[in-house]
């Protein structure tokens, strides 16, 4: 492993600015690292060597010419393959979009380009971001670099594995019910889901529009904040994007001071059903925060227990509608039904959707179609929306008592591939801690706090703050990061 891939984004940015290294060197080092380990991990669905190197050379030339370039210019990044890029395919992890090259960049990608970050490639994911293990990728699963027999979490498992294994210092993921934070926890990297509307969704293949959010993944809180700053901010192309200044997340990540801060442990997110090693690591982390001067109390969020049920109605409902556009008419896979000599458009649509979508996607489309059906709408979609309101109220009440909330990110450490494949419900339960933040639109960050004493695998702790207070979670996470000094992966194993 090259020394350059050991460095984080902030350190690389400093060396690039100081002229100690070039972006071409840094980018090439990461591309070589991908070449070295990705056959074992399958974190990438596409490596964009040519365009990444072109960006790197361009940034180096601009720097050499004395041009003032953005902080992260020249620091490479990996992008989840749910996010549109004009120079690399965007497949959403699905056969449906195999080889599809979007005619337009997502806003976040345009911002990466404007900031001069070479895009190393597109990372693997559960098909259309539907899953918690990356086993639902149509192109085969990503493996956890801490133990390649295990899953990296999902759906941003490719981005998580790439950052954890030093294939990339930074990555973008998306989080609909925990898809950044949970793989962050499983692979020992920082993963942040910003406030809903904080980062543009334009050009991000939609899973559940009212829940999806793009966010950064990195090996340190500061690195995540630096990437957050690049992609966040109002976008007139996304009507749900918030027209307000981005909180100063970088300053917060540099501060890392919890003295006098009130931190609430969510009573409903712990105890029974949580792996003892996870619970122990979490308790230890909270203890450290208390010792550092935070006041730690327990708060009740009784509606959180209905979070999964509500999520599995709202999400598939929106999925069923968002994925209707994949009909083989304008783009994507087109399959003619077998044994039908002169098929109608409807028959082609049907055959294409049957061939193009995997089982988990179909499961959710069927579920959502049912939940929105007339006669069931009020009982399902309607009730789920009411639960969202209740969860938002729980958050509001909790944030009257405390500054941030804390919980484990996931109830377990990474499981073995195939272990939960036949039990979707067990898989869904993995998202119990992360889902409330999506339902209420508040920011949440998962910080690696060490290895579970029972499995020896990474454990994440999640911080939650009120909407638009993204800087608060960065501040607390930065403080805890210094106290716990969670181990970084030495080599893929």
């Amino acid at each position: 492993m090259s020394d350059l891939t050991r460095l984080g984004a902030a350190e690389l940015a400093e060396k690039l600015a100081g002229g100690e290294v070039t972006s071409v060197d840094v980018t090439r080092a990461h591309l070589e690292r991908i070449g070295e380990v990705d056959s074992r991990l399958h974190a990438f669905l596409h490596v964009g060597e040519e365009s990444a190197m072109a960006t790197a050379a361009d940034v180096d030339a601009r720097r050499a010419a004395g041009e003032d370039v953005p902080t992260l210019a020249g620091v490479p990044v990996a992008v989840k393959d749910l996010i549109n890029t004009t120079d690399q395919p965007t497949t959403a992890g699905s056969r449906m979009l195999e080889g599809w090259v979007p005619p337009y960049d997502a806003t976040v990608v345009a911002r990466l380009r404007a900031a001069g970050l070479p895009i190393l490639g597109k990372t693997n994911l559960d098909e259309f971001a539907m899953g918690s293990s990356n086993e639902h990728s149509a192109y085969g699963p990503t493996r956890n670099p801490w133990d390649t027999d295990r899953i990296p979490g999902g759906s941003s498992g490719g981005s998580a594995a790439a950052v954890a294994s030093h294939e990339a210092p930074l990555a973008l993921g998306t989080d609909t019910g925990g898809s950044i934070r949970q793989p962050g926890a499983m692979t020992g990297v920082v993963g942040m889901k910003p406030t809903y509307g904080g980062v543009s969704r334009y050009g991000v293949v939609a899973m559940a529009s009212s829940l999806d959010q793009v966010g950064p993944m990195a090996r340190s809180v500061l690195d995540a904040a630096l990437l957050h700053e690049v992609v966040a901010g109002h976008d007139p192309l996304d009507s749900t994007s918030i027209d307000a200044p981005v909180p100063d997340v970088v300053a917060a990540a540099r501060r890392g001071d919890v003295s006098g801060l009130k931190i609430g442990i969510v009573r409903e997110l712990g105890g029974e059903g949580f792996q003892p090693g996870v619970q122990a690591a979490f308790d230890g982390a909270v203890e450290q925060l208390a010792q550092a001067g935070a006041e730690v109390v327990e708060v009740a969020c009784p509606s959180f227990r209905h979070g999964i049920a509500a999520y599995y109605l709202v999400m598939p409902s929106e999925v069923s509608s968002n994925l209707a556009r994949f009909d083989a008419m304008r783009y994507g896979l087109r399959v003619s039904p077998e044994g039908v000599p002169d098929p109608s458009a409807e028959q082609v649509m049907s055959a294409s959707r049957d061939a193009g979508f995997g089982d988990e996607v179909k499961r959710r489309i069927v579920l959502g179609t049912y939940a929105l059906s007339s006669g069931y709408y009020d009982a399902y979609y309607g009730s789920a929306q009411k639960v969202r309101t209740l969860i938002a109220r729980d958050f509001a009440a909790a944030f009257e008592q405390v500054d941030v909330l804390v919980s484990p990110t996931a109830p377990t450490t990474a499981w073995r591939l195939g272990e939960k494949s036949d039990d979707p419900l067990a898989m869904y339960l993995e998202d119990v801690c992360t889902i409330p933040a999506n339902l209420a639109g508040v920011p949440g960050l998962s910080l690696p706090v060490g290895l579970a004493d029972d499995t020896g695998l990474p454990v994440g702790v999640q911080f939650l703050a009120p909407a638009l207070a993204d800087d608060r979670v960065y501040n607390v996470a930065a403080a805890l990061e210094r106290l716990v000094a969670a181990p970084v992966l030495e080599e893929v194993r």
């Binding site: 005619p103 192309l237 996304d238 009507s239 749900t240 009909d327 458009a345």
Partner: protein, 505 residues
Amino acid sequence: MTTATQKIVPFDEAITRYDPVMGLEVHVELNTATKMFCGCATAFGAEPNTQVCPVCLGLPGALPVVNAKAVESAIRIGLALSCDIAEWCRFARKNYFYPDMPKNFQTSQYDEPIAFDGYLDVEVPLEEGGTRTVRVEIERAHMEEDTGKSLHVGGATGRIHGADHSLLDYNRAGIPLIEIVTRTIHVPAELAPAVARAFVTQLRDLIVALDVSDARMDQGSLRADVNLSLSPKDSGVLGTRSETKNVNSFRSVERAVRYEIGRHAGVLDAGGSILQETRHFHEANGSTSAGREKSDADDYRYFPEPDLAPVAPSREWVEELRGTLPEPPSERRRRLQAEWEFSDLDMRDTVGAGALDLVAATVAAGTTPAAAKKWWLGELARRANEDGTDLADLPITPEQVAAIQGLIDAGRVNDKLARQVFEGVLAGEGTPDEVVSTRGLEVVSDDGALGDAVDRAIEANPDVAQKIRDGKVQAAGALIGAVMKEMRGQADAGRVRELVLEKLS
């Protein structure tokens, strides 16, 4: 299909036994420069698929942004129809699969329309003369996006069934539409067809006055659906309704109502039951045919559009827009009648023919009201009737009509030649001036040419000439007629008369 054996009961007979229950839905394509949810142009008639982008093609990841101008137009339409304007409303997704709909859902409004609970008072011409004012209640006016267009190639019907292949044009996909839905219209059965026509005609006048749409039925920028069922007289039993879609002229609206009343009566008389279905209207013979069967299984799975923020027009803005409304149609009609010095009958005929705006525009272009009415309700109405189209859809503008009248007033053409100018303009031969010159229609008042013709006429008719010399001036008609014949009508008859009398005095 039972079309062949279907019995159509004559309208007058049908309404002795049944009461029609009628509702209308009108789609208005707004004339905003850009589409409802993206920045694409909306111009009519562009090359297929040249006015498209990721948003209106429904590409993965694309998101809608509401066109504020379309919301403004929706509110103005709502206010002009005396509707309440929602303080807060959302878009909703109407989910169904169809190749011309890029996202396979239409972004529309469901239970939270932008405008609701209004009315339009329409003047309905009565057969026995005079008009009757009917209040048509408006249930709602809501915003939505148009679909693309399918062109089915091959097959007999031009419809998807039986076609060899289909072409898709997404230029129209995403153009803003306002759907205006009436409540059930309660009128005496015999008035129903006329009420339907009057409503659509006068709604169009209103839309044009608001300047929110081209409102061209022939181009589909105003489309009417007729929902109709029959209830046996005094039974209180509601029938099953049919929805006749996209009727594309005022006249056709009236005919569609008539036809459907007769068709329903025929089915019910025979003890049959009406299918809940959409119907296609056929311009050629005024009939309808079965479209798609609708049933309770039609489930659009509406839910609030999560990609758009709610629309919450401030009361200040709504009041500001109220200030921009044109004069209400009924007041405008009263004012114009007074200004034009039209009798009630003149006015009824003008409104009934859908010519009010055309006459007004022609008058504005400098023609007298009487002359404007004469052309629109005479020559042009005859042409529209022959072509089975609406007056407004004839390929002639009020400015051109005024220009032709101007030619008459200037003595350059007479009434008879003017009819040929109309013919030329309608045939697309150019402006009135161009038609006059290419067809050589100008009246000859050149004394040289006329004088020669008069001399020839005198020479050819010595007896007549002698009578005139003897003082029988009324005999001049025969010579004038001969000159006009020779000049193929293109002579100034007054000047010919003067010359004849001069030469024979």
